[in-house]
Every structure is written in C-alpha cells, then in structure tokens.
Symmetry: C2
Amino acid sequence: MTNLEQIRPFFEPSSVAVIGASPIITKVGYVVLHNLLMNKEKWIFDGEIYPVNPKYAEVLGVKCYPSLRSIGKSVETIIIAIPAQIVPSVMEEAAEIGVKAAIIISSGFSEVGNVKLEEEVKRIGLRSGIRIIGPNCLGVYDPYSGMDTLFLPEVKRLSSGREVVATPRPFPGSIVLISQSGAFGAAALDYMAGHGIGVRCFISLGNRCDVAEHELLLYFSEDKKTKVNLLYIEGIGNGRGFFEASKKVSTLKPIVALKAGKTSAGARAAASHTGALSGVDQIYGAVFKQSGIVRAMNLEELFDMGRALNLQPPAHGKKVAILTNGGGPGIVAADTCEESGLSVVKLSDDIINRFEDLKKKGELLPIMANSNPVDLTALATSDMYVKALRILLDDKDIDGVLVITLPQTPSILDDVIEKVADVSMEQKKPVVACVMGGTEMAEEFRVRFEKSGIPSYSMPERAARAIYSLMEYGMYLGKLH
Amino acid sequence: MTNLEQIRPFFEPSSVAVIGASPIITKVGYVVLHNLLMNKEKWIFDGEIYPVNPKYAEVLGVKCYPSLRSIGKSVETIIIAIPAQIVPSVMEEAAEIGVKAAIIISSGFSEVGNVKLEEEVKRIGLRSGIRIIGPNCLGVYDPYSGMDTLFLPEVKRLSSGREVVATPRPFPGSIVLISQSGAFGAAALDYMAGHGIGVRCFISLGNRCDVAEHELLLYFSEDKKTKVNLLYIEGIGNGRGFFEASKKVSTLKPIVALKAGKTSAGARAAASHTGALSGVDQIYGAVFKQSGIVRAMNLEELFDMGRALNLQPPAHGKKVAILTNGGGPGIVAADTCEESGLSVVKLSDDIINRFEDLKKKGELLPIMANSNPVDLTALATSDMYVKALRILLDDKDIDGVLVITLPQTPSILDDVIEKVADVSMEQKKPVVACVMGGTEMAEEFRVRFEKSGIPSYSMPERAARAIYSLMEYGMYLGKLH
C-alpha cells in the first residue's frame, strides 16, 4: 500500500465514527456529527456514520454506540473529539478493529506541554498503521465528498438576536488549502466564501504528529479536481520530505506558501502555538525557490496568487506590460512589479510603430505616450483597450499584461471586461486586471472579470503581485526544460 | 493678504463661473455646473453660479454668459473646462475682472509636452494674483461647502441597461485627501465611499503649476473639521516649501503620504504622467521622516493609516502587545510589527502575575501561555478579552494593543466589540482591531468596531501597519518635546 492510498480515507471514507458524538449543540461532537448527517441527507456524503459515546443510546436520531468495538462492523476513519487524556485508549481500540485514519480534533497535547501524551498517540498510530491528522486541529473540509469535520458553526446569533453567517463553507472549486493554524484556516474559509473563491479541499493540520504537508501535496497532485495548492506554514517538521514532494508536485501544479514566524517575535509565537520550530527565514526562502514554491508575503497575497494561478497560464518570462486608463495607478503597479523583480520593459519599435499607425487612423489617442505603463488616458474606450492589448500580447518581448481599468471615467464601458477577456485568449500569456474602487460599478467589474477568467484585484499592488506569481512560477517551469 | 486667505476661494467661493458650461450631458462643463446647481438647490452650496459659454443663452435653466466680462459682477473663482489653447485668453479676462482663484480642469499642457502653454497660464496667474489649481486635474470636492468640480458621473449605465454607482461622493468626514493623480483620486473617493470613510476635502492637483501640497496642508492645519491629511505624491515641486510646511503641520495634525514612482520604471511613468520628477526615493524617505510624515507603502495602507490616525490617539512609544483568540493570525501580526520596527515586547512580571491570578480564579484559561502575542485561545470569551486588555493597557511597558478577534469560534460573542472599545478608553493608548473573514459576521464586527472608535482591518498585517502609524507618529511628537 503506497502512502497515497493511506491518505484517501481522510477525504473519502467508506465509514466514519464520531468519537464524542453529542446532542449538545455547543459541543464539537454535535457539530461534526450534524455536518456529516446533513451531507448524507443531501446525498453529498455517502459513507456510513457511527456516533460513539457511552452516555447516549441515540444522538440526532441515530443509534449511538458505547464504544468503537461495539459497532461490530469495520470502520475506516474516526474523528476524535474527546478530552486529550482518553485519546490513547480510543486509539488502542481503533487499532484493534482495523481503523485506517484518525482525525484528532482534541487539543491539550504538545501545544500546552503535554509532549508525552502526543508521543503516545503517535506511537499507537505508527504501530497499528493508523494515519493521523492533528491533534489540535480543525480537520478536513471536502465539498465534493461531503467530509466536513469543521466544528465551527456556519451561523451565529448576535446579541441583538439576529442570526448571521459566521463560518460559511466555500463552494466547490479547485484550490487546496493546507493550514497548520486552525484559526487561520477558519478565517480563510470565511474569506474564500465571502470573495467567491471555490475550494477543492481544506485541511487544518494542527500539531501535525503524523500526516504533514508533503503527503497531502502528493495526494492532490494526482487529483483531477485540484489546480492550485495554498499552504499556511509556521514551520516544517520533515524538511527533506517537504522539499522532495514540493519539487515533484510543483512541476505539475503550482504551490503558493505563506510562511509565518519570519521575525524573532513571530518565531517565538509560533513555538508556543503549534510547537513549531520556524527556523531561519532565509532557509525557507531558499527551499521555496529551489522547489518551485511561490512565496506569498501576506495572507491576502496567498489568495490573490491562488486565484491568479487558478485562472491564468504561467508566463514564459518576467517582462510585463501595464495597460491603464489612469496614470497614478499605472505608476504604482510599475513600482510593485519592479520591486518584485519583474521587468517593466520599454516598448519595442514594433509596438511603437503599430501604436503610431493606430493613432494616425484615430483608433488610439494622439496624446497617448508610447511608454510602459501604456496610459490610454482617461478618454480610453473599450476598443482602445482591445487594440492596445492585442499589440502588447503579440509582441515576443512581452510575457504578460497587467490591465488596469478604472471604471469611473465616462468613456469606459463595461463591455471592456468581456472584450479584454476575449483578446487575452489569443495568446497563451497571462493577463490580470486591476479595478480600483469600493462601490457598485467597481465591484461589478471585478466580479465579471473573474467570471471571464481574468483574476481581478482592487489595488494595483495586488494585481502586480498576482502577475508576479504567474511569472515566477512560469520561470521555474521554464528552467526545468 | 497671507497665502491662506488666497486658498479659501477654492473651497468656499462667494461666486463661481463655470467656463465651458454646457447642456450636453457627457461634457465636463455640464457635470460641474450640474453638481454646483444641485448643491445650491440642496442649500449646501451658497455661492453665486455663472455659466459661461458663448454658444448658449441658457444652460440647465440658468442664464449663460458669453464671456466672463459680460457677467458684470465680481467673480471670485472660475472653473475652466475648455480646450487648452484658449485657456490663456480666459485667464487674461479673469485677471481684468479681478478673479481670485482658477481651477483648470482642461488637459493638454505640460503632460503632453505643451510646456510653453502651461508657462503662459502660470505667468498670468503670477502677474494678476490669480491662484491656480491644475491644469489637468479633477479639482476640488468639499462636502461641507458643496464645492464640487469632479466631472466624473456619480452613476453609470451598464450595457445591460442597469444603472450603477460609479463615482460616489463620500460623506462628510475629517480626512483631507490631496492627490496629484486624478485617476487615483477618483478611485480613492470610490474606495472611501464604499468603505464608509468620510472625507473633509478632496483636492486633485494635476500638473500643479501653482498651488501645491504645502499650502493646502497649511490651510487645513487651521481648519477645525480636519483631523488627518493623506497625500498621494508622484514628485514634489517646491521641496523647501513642502518640508517647512509639513514640519509645521505634522506637529498639529498627522500627515500620511504615499510616494509613487519609487522604482526606475515607476519614475519613468511618473515623468510622462504629470511631468513630475520623482527623484531619489531615499530622499523622500528622509524628508518624510524628518518632517513627521508617516509613509504608507501602498494605496490600501494610505487609507488604513488614515483611519487609524483619525480614530485613535498616537502612542508614546513603539512597544506593542497583541491580544488574540487565534495563534496563526497573532504570529503574522507579530511578524509585521517587528518588520515595521515596532517591538513585540516580552510580558513584564507584573502582567504575568496578574494573568496567573486570573487563571487561578478561573477568569482566564490555564492553557493560555504568558507570552506576547497573548493568545486567549479559541475558547476565549468577551470577558477574557476585557480582563487581559485592561492588564496590558495598564502596563507602563506597553504603548498600544493590537486586538485580533476571530468571530468564527463559538465562544466569542459580538458584545466583545463594545466591551473592548470601553476598556480602550481607560488609557490614552491606541488600540486597533483585526477581524478576519469575508462574510456577514466578520463584516458586522468590523463595522461595529469602527463605529465604536476602534479602526478595524480584515488582515493582521494591515492592523499591524495601522498601529505602526500611530506609534511612528507618536514617537515623532514625543521627540519634539
């Protein structure tokens, strides 16, 4: 049995037992059982579900078993939500009945100094072959299989009595998110749901006593639904395994990583959080570089890059053109591109000649300067965008284009969105969009760009970092060939 | 007459003439006249309004004059929206009838190489004493006086026929925004409106042939409604004037500046945009530092810092505590604080003793580590936040607190918002909040924090940079005494 076959039961179990199942709505054992039963009712989850808790004969209308053993059937995966001290005894029982995978949500292990207890659990897993996610984690959310161990409620009640969405589940998509931190993971799911970013699978690893990032990366590299991997890392346990796996996976699918604990204060905090040794930041930088991982510098960027790599092809080089109808935002984008190591190239003679031709024909404005950023000016129309973008993408010295459309000027109409998207398909070069503004029109532009396959951002710096990720990843792929 | 008395007519004119007034809805002269007439009808604007255009006898129901001279009454301020070539003749006429201020919206001057034309306009201004904003600008938006020369429509029609808000006007507030770039300015107003940030006044300077940032800073430093100044700068013309003015103003009111054109690509773009020499970036850094200007590194940060300085007091030092219910986001915040030069201090013995006391009483959790970030864990309640925050703010070694409340955990309730706000009032130390997430609950938390006087951010890095601005500005003030 290869490792990857060991990983499947976490996501597509034929049967699960919820250890600590409870009828009390505030308990983890209630929320997890409720999630699974609901998904079963909706025909999303199709495994058997066994509540386990000696206190109850029935939970949520389902027969509840006093112990794992008493189920009397084979159980593939267990979800553990009971006090830390009694986890080893449950694991022993699981070993006896041939359980394959355990998601240990319970906290109270190495993160609070109970290192021996965690070692004991780990040993049982190693001995019996039970693979473990956790402890001290949120577990797994897979919208395709309906496996959902997140114990955070989807809805919360405000003091005013009003119910509001609290931890929504994002819709099915093609981005895998692997997070050491549960809190970050929960906030990340909320962010993805709120911003319409679909998720292939979410995994919160917690103390990571067994299953770590590398095995998950390998597992999803063979998964057809996965397009991009996002990692939130505080520290790596198995450095060699991580390096080898990410080198292999990143030739197939991009990996973006956010490494927390960069500074001494952050590293101290990471140590007391998940017991992770965050190590020297430069080492991580070097490992990421060598294994083709694109590094995100902050949380927002992790998703910004994820969206870019999900929608657009990687670039063959780092020469970027910026096309805009506003000078200021173009300058800011140029700054960020150069600061990221991209090259905001001077326009070739060929491009300038073609621009001049169109100026003569009245199809581009005579006041438009032949420089990069290409500023179409506040009088730009959708057709000028189409013509200029085609010329830029045609040029062999340009590897990708950052398109800024400020929707506030009178002359720009919303048909620019689909027109830009159409032209972007003519070449296999990445195009990203920036639409600044906080109200209706800007929001409409951003959503429709995204639906047309062009990732869009509210700030030029964010768009610049997004195209950087496509160029950085593309350059890595290029070096391999 | 001092300079500041010369500036008032731009914002509170007793009478304005709109040169190039037009009944055609797509013309600048229509939008500007329409803005002013609407504001007059709503009793916001109380100056006289004279449309000027030889083509029409009446525009928008108001008598239209063939020339400035033909008005036959004194005109304090003119707004010019006619082709560049005929601007000098209008300026000559304005000089004859004693106009005090001109906002030249027209483009086609030095930004496209017509340097001589701009020089000519400038000379007329100098000779006659007419002060000039522009050319090639959006002009002014003052929600208190109703002066609104923005020619961008508030509403636009999509190709589907649906009307959407395009360039909304933010509500009256206490933030002054001075922008060289008009496009950036328009997008910024849209951002402020969409994010509920009030504006005291917005000024787009364009080519800046006369009035520059320094006189505006001095003008608003004496204005009771102004609390914070935000600058978007591509380059400074009058370096000495800018330095002297900002040194003076920043002792009274904070200034945050975003300098675009940091890299060579950005600088090239700035030169062709508003003809600005963006100079060596390090020089700007030094000038900002010496004159007490807080430097924002990107557009979002400009507003993030503006909101922080608008709502919270500056700090007396740079020692920051981070209070959180999620480990990961705490680590990320600690990283950004340290990278910004703040000190994420170790907790004093006094704080640790007080924490331990509360742990014994069961008012804080025993598993909570006595380290900074202070991680109350996912089980944190509102009362734990109150108690820990009070202890941190009481400590003489802590100058400000960054509070992270992840609303996704079951134990945290929304009353934490007002409770944290109440405790933050007990000491004159800044408190900022981070609430991660993209859906209802997170949004509700952020809005209510802001309404309670605590600036709130969706990402820990942004909150960290916000408290940095309060510490950086406070340290500058401290050095002066």
